[in-house]
C-alpha cells in the first residue's frame, strides 16, 4: 500500500512534465499574434519588435521551450502580457473560487447521484427507475452554458429567488481571506450574513455544474447497488426478517457508497473543464473565467498555467480517490 502510494506520487512530476510539453507545443506552434493584440492594430513595427524581444517570442521554438521549462522549474509560470502581472499571483487569487464551486458541485453530485442511483436500483425497471435514468442522461445532453442561462432566466429574472451571478452581493464585503473560499471563510469568521449570501450565490452555478455531470455517478451507483443486492449477505439479511428499508438503505447502500469515491476522481476532470463555461455564464471569478478571458486576448501564459493547474488538480484528485478507495474497502490490495 505504502509502495503503491509512493509510486503514484513519483509519477506525478512526470505527468506534469508531459502535460507542460504538450501544452507548450499546442500553444506555440502557431506564430503568435499575441504582441499585435497587446499593442493594438496601430502599433509601429519598432514597437512590435521591441515587445517581441522582451517576451522572447522571436527565438526559435526549441529555445523558447527550454526557457519555458527552466522557468517552470523555478515555479515561474510567466507573466500575463495583458495585465503584466505574474500569472502565479492571478492563479492564487482565482483558484479558491473554482475550488469552492467544484466542491459544491461535487457535494451536489454525490448526494443526488447516490440517491438517484440507489432508488433506481431498488425499484429496477419501474417508472421511477426510468425517470431517474432519464434525468441523468438528460443532464449530460444539456449544454452547460445554456442550462446556466435558463436557471438565471427562471430563478433570477422571472422569480427573483436566487442571485444571477457573482460570488457575493455588491453591498457586502468579502470575508477576511483565510482559504479564499467565501463560504468557509465567513463560517470561520462567524460572519453569518455573508455566509448566507455566498451560499445563495453558489446554488445555481453548482447545480448547473452538478446536474450536467450526474450520469456517471448515477449509473455507477445503480449498477454497483444491483450487484450488491444480489449477494448472499443481502439474502441473509432478508431471511433474518429485516425490513426492506433497512436492507436497502443500510446494508446495501453502505457498500455501494464506495463507488461514489471513484466517481469523485473520475468526474473531477469534467467539473474542472465545465467550470470554464459555468464560470463565464455566472461571472464567477475563478480560473475558468480567467482562462476564457485570456484566450480572447491571445495571452499565452495564463492559458498554459490554467491548463497545467487543471491537469495537476485532476491527477491529484484521481490519486486521492484511488487511495481513499483502498482505505475504505479492505478487500482491495495494491
Amino acid at each position: 500500500m505504502k509502495v503503491y502510494i509512493l509510486k503514484r506520487l513519483l509519477m506525478l512530476p512526470l505527468v506534469i512534465l508531459m502535460v507542460a510539453t504538450l501544452v507548450f507545443f499546442l500553444t506555440h506552434s502557431v506564430p503568435g499574434s499575441a504582441v499585435r493584440i497587446l499593442l493594438g492594430p496601430h502599433a509601429g513595427e519598432a514597437q512590435i519588435e521591441k515587445a517581441t524581444k522582451e517576451f522572447g517570442l522571436d527565438k526559435p521554438l526549441v529555445v523558447q521551450y527550454g526557457m519555458y521549462m527552466k522557468r517552470l522549474f523555478h515555479g515561474d509560470l510567466g507573466t500575463s502580457i495583458v495585465s503584466r502581472r505574474p500569472v502565479v499571483r492571478d492563479l492564487m487569487t482565482f483558484f479558491p473560487a473554482t475550488i469552492e464551486l467544484s466542491l459544491a458541485a461535487m457535494v451536489m453530485l454525490v448526494v443526488v447521484g447516490i440517491s438517484l442511483g440507489a432508488v433506481s436500483a431498488i425499484h429496477r425497471s419501474s417508472l421511477l427507475d426510468m425517470f431517474a435514468r432519464g434525468l441523468a442522461v438528460g443532464g449530460v445532453a444539456m449544454p452547460q452554458f445554456w442550462l446556466g442561462l435558463m436557471f438565471i432566466l427562471v430563478f433570477f429574472y422571472w422569480s427573483g429567488w436566487l442571485p444571477g451571478g457573482g460570488r457575493l452581493d455588491l453591498t457586502l464585503d468579502p470575508p477576511t481571506t483565510i482559504t479564499g473560499m467565501y463560504v468557509l471563510d465567513s463560517l470561520l469568521t462567524g460572519n453569518w450574513k455573508t455566509l448566507w449570501d455566498s451560499i445563495l450565490h453558489l446554488i445555481l452555478p453548482a447545480l448547473t455544474l452538478g446536474l450536467t455531470n450526474l450520469s456517471t455517478t448515477t449509473a455507477m451507483v445503480r449498477s454497483s447497488m444491483l450487484q450488491t443486492l444480489s449477494q448472499d449477505y443481502i439474502t441473509m439479511a432478508r431471511a433474518y426478517g429485516f425490513s426492506d428499508t433497512k436492507v436497502h438503505y443500510v446494508y446495501a447502500l453502505k457498500n455501494s457508497m464506495i463507488t461514489a469515491v471513484t466517481v469523485i476522481g473520475m468526474t473531477s476532470g469534467h467539473l474542472l473543464g465545465g467550470a470554464v463555461l459555468v464560470e463565464t455564464v455566472f461571472d464567477w471569478p475563478g480560473i475558468g473565467l480567467f482562462a476564457a478571458q485570456s484566450i480572447l486576448n491571445v495571452d499565452y501564459a495564463p492559458i498554459i498555467a490554467v491548463t497545467m493547474l487543471v491537469a495537476v488538480t485532476y491527477a491529484v484528485m484521481n490519486l486521492v480517490a484511488d487511495i481513499l478507495y483502498a482505505v475504505l474497502d479492505p478487500r482491495i490490495h495494491f
Binding site: 505527468v15 502557431v30 449544454p143 442561462l149 480572447l296 491548463t307
Partner: protein, 287 residues
Amino acid sequence: MASQNNSKKESRLSYAAYIIRKSPMSLLGLFLVAGIIFLALFSPWIATHDPLKINFDQGFKPPSAQHWFGTDDLGRDVFSRIVYGSRISLKIALFVVGIAATLGTALGLFSGYIGGVVDIIIMRVVDTFLAIPPFILAMVATAALGPSLTNVMIALSITWWTWYARIVRGEVLRLKNLNFMMAERSLGARLPRMLFRHLLPNCVGPVAVQTTLQLGLAVLTSAGLSFLGLGAQPPSPAWGLMIATGRQYLPDQWWMTTFPGMMIFLLVMGFILIGDTIRDVLSRDIQ
C-alpha cells in the same frame, strides 16, 4: 463459416429490431437524430426566411405566426437560423468523429499489435492527452489555432483520437493471442491482413458505441467553444453563437437563447440514446 456468419449477423439485426421495438427510448433517439438530419438536408425548403437577412425594423419580435421562434437583435428569423444551424452542428460532429475515429483506430491497432517501443510511445502520448480534461484541451488547441469553426474541427480531431486508440488497443491485446489469430499467423498472413481483415472487424462494436457518444460530445463542445467566442463567428447561425448573442438580451428576448439550446439538447440526447441502444445490442453478443 460464411453461412454461420450470416446467421449471426441476421440474429443480431433481428435483435436490434427487437430492442428498438421494445424500448421507446431507442426509437426516440433515432427519431431525434433523423429529424435533425432532415432539417439539415432540406433547410432551404423548411426555413421560412433567409437566415442571414438583416431587417432592422423586424428586430426583437416575440414568437408569432410569422416568426415561429421570434426574431433576433438584427431582425433575423430565429427559426430559420436554427434550421440552417443544424447543418453546422452535424458537419462538425461528422468531421471530428470521422477523423478522430480513423486516426485513433489505426494508431490503436498498430500500438496493440506491434507492441514494444511503438506501443510505449503511442500510449504515453495518449496518457498525456488524457491527463487534461477534454474541454480544456479542446479550448487550448482552438485558442492556439485561432478562433474559427474550421479550427474548432481541427482542434477536436487532433485531441480526441486518444479515446479510440485506447479502446482499440485494449481490444487488440485481448484478441491478439486467441487461437484464430495464432492460426492465421502461422499460415503466414501479413500485417495488413492481420490488422484490417481480422482485428479491425472485431473492434467495430466498442468503436461504434464510442462514436455515438463522441458525436454528441462534439456538438456540445463545439457549441461551448462558439459560446466562448472561439468557434463560429458572426453572422453564422451556429447554435452556440446564437446563445452567446441571446445572452445579452436576457430576460426580455428569452426566445433568442432558449430555442437554439433546446436544439443542441435534442440532438445530443438523440446520439446518446442511439449509443445506449448499440451498447445493449452488443452486450447481448458478449453474454
